[in-house]
Structure formats: C-alpha cells, structure tokens
C-alpha cells in the first residue's frame, strides 16, 4: 500500500471564543495528528472566556484575586503543563497555539521561542508599533526604556519535539483591567493592549490575517485555513 505523506503546509483552525480547556483538547487532537504523521503542522487561533492559567513554574501566590473576585468576574483558574508562570486570558486577547514538529525545522527551544517573539514584533511593525525583547525575559514589550509594557506572553510545552501552547497577544483594552488580579509571569510588570497603543479599535480578524502572513514568512510554509 502506498503511504502518502502529509502536505507540508500549516493547517490553521480558528476556534473563536472558546473555553481554555476545550481549546486544550483541540490542541491535543492536533498534536496526535502531527505526531502520527497525518498532518504536517497546525496553528490554532482562539480567544478564551476569562481564565487565569498557571504554568509549571507558577506560584499560587501570584494570583492576587480573592475567591469573590474570581466568582464575580466569572474567571476560571486552570493549571497547565506549559512553561512559565501565571497569566490571564480574556475575550480580548488573541491566542495562537502552534502545533509544530520542530524536527522539520530546528530542534532548538531557544530558536522556537525567539521565532514566536519575532512573529509578534513583525505584526506590531506592520501596525507601526516598535516591539521589543527584554534581555533574559521571554515575550514582547513596547515603550520607552525603563518603562516597557508587555503586550504578548509566551509559554510552551514540547513533547517528542512537537510544540503545544504558544502565545497570547492582548488586543482589546478591556482585558487589561483583569491583569490586576495577577502578578503576570510572577513579576511586577505592566501590561498594555494593541488598542491602547493604536488609540483606535482593531478587529481580531485583521490581527489573525497579519499573524498568518507572519507565520508563513518565519516558517516558510503556506498556512491553509481549515475554517474561518
């Protein structure tokens, strides 16, 4: 029997607004397809209902919200296997979960993290915003030296050199208020949103379209939207 190799494109899914746990299931299903060789690589775009997620390095002390705050804000708390500390995801943040087999690119965690940062920096550049890396810290920042604010957080898991989890970019200003409930990444850092920086509304769809082009450029593969 002839075995057909999966076409080397990234298959992208947009799950829209979805619970963090349901999106995690979708990631695991995509991971299985990539691991079994049924699919080359995948990208999952989604937004979450309010959720605070903890990574492997997280301390519960970095959640500042009381139980009452969480209940009144309808905020769920989920522990995850990804790297990094605590973060918040709201409906106004765009998450991208790349399920990428690094064996086809570079078996290098550092390279992959820096590539995700580069994608966000290039997205910001298209919108005439200067994105920055801060030495020793993963993520993307903006602003003047000494007063930088974080706009994108990154935390990943790698199994058999296939990546899970990924990046979260704050788009809508409304999401920023909820960051008072945590110490993002376990540090006293200030967050910002794309709308705050632009001073205008921006559609999630526009961000997704730019991100697709940036993934195509960095990984030199075509991104094929499975749904839209």
């Amino acid at each position: 029997m002839m075995i057909t190799k999966p076409v080397s494109v990234f298959e992208a899914l947009d799950l829209g607004l979805i619970d963090f746990k349901k999106a995690l299931e979708a990631q695991k299903e995509a991971y299985s397809r990539v691991k079994n060789g049924e699919q080359f690589c995948a990208l999952i775009f989604c937004r979450h209902h309010p959720v605070i997620t903890l990574g492997r390095s997280s301390s519960r002390k970095n959640i500042l919200a009381t139980e009452a705050d969480l209940i009144s804000g309808g905020i769920e708390v989920c522990e995850t296997e990804r790297g990094g500390d605590v973060t918040y995801h709201g409906p106004g943040s765009m998450n991208v979960y790349p399920i990428i087999n690094l064996k086809f690119f570079k078996k290098d965690i550092h390279w992959f993290l820096r590539t995700l940062e580069e994608i966000v920096i290039n997205l910001l550049s298209d919108l005439r915003i200067k994105g920055l890396r801060l030495t020793g810290l993963t993520g993307v920042w903006t602003g003047i030296a000494g007063e930088e604010k974080k706009i994108a957080s990154i935390g990943i898991t790698i199994r058999h050199w296939i990546t899970l989890h990924g990046l979260s970019i704050i788009i809508k200003e409304a999401d920023l208020k909820k960051f008072q409930y945590i110490r993002p990444c376990g540090m006293d850092i200030k967050m910002t949103s794309l709308e705050t920086l632009l001073g205008r509304n921006i559609e999630m769809e526009e961000i997704k379209e730019i991100l697709i082009r940036k993934f195509e450029a960095e990984f030199t593969r075509h991104v094929n939207m499975v749904n839209s």
């Binding site: 990574g55 492997r56 390095s57 296997e81 990804r82 790297g83 990094g84 078996k107 290098d108 965690i109 550092h110 390279w111 992959f112 993290l113 993963t138 993520g139 990154i154 935390g155 990943i156 898991t157 790698i158 199994r159 058999h160």
Partner: protein
C-alpha cells in the same frame, strides 16, 4: 543498562530544571514513553525513555538544576 542523558535543547541553553518524574525507581517503562519533564526558560520539555526496561536509578529530584549532557537516570533493560 541505558543512561538517560539531558540532551541539547537549543543554542545558549546550558541548564534545565527537573519539573516532574513520570516514573519512580523500580517501575517498568517502555521506549518513547514520557519519562521526565524538564523546564527551561518559558518551555517545558518531555524527555522520552530511550529504552524499555526498569528504572534502576534516578540521580536528580524534582526542582534540581541539571547541566546539558548529565545523566538523569539509568534504565536496566535486563
């Protein structure tokens, strides 16, 4: 006997932290199964068993820092 070695994880990464052992000494493992989860920077990495057998020794505890190339555990294929 097969040594479980912390592999190269990427340019400039010299150390990682043991975050979770999926097995205890004395337990049977199968090749390619997740054996240990390690953490570096903003990433967790699952190291698979290099061989099937019994985990005879584990040299580092969860929370320990390990250098690339160090032996984490030994698997006895006997």
């Amino acid at each position: 006997m097969t040594n479980v070695v912390l592999p190269e994880l990427g340019e400039g990464i010299e150390k990682a932290t043991i975050s979770y052992w999926y097995f205890n000494p004395g337990e049977r493992v199968t090749e390619k199964e997740d054996l240990v989860e390690i953490t570096t920077d903003k990433a967790t990495f699952n190291l698979p068993c290099p061989a099937s057998g019994i985990v005879s020794e584990i040299f580092f505890h969860e929370g320990d820092s390990v250098n690339i190339g160090e032996i984490l555990a030994v698997i006895d294929e006997g």
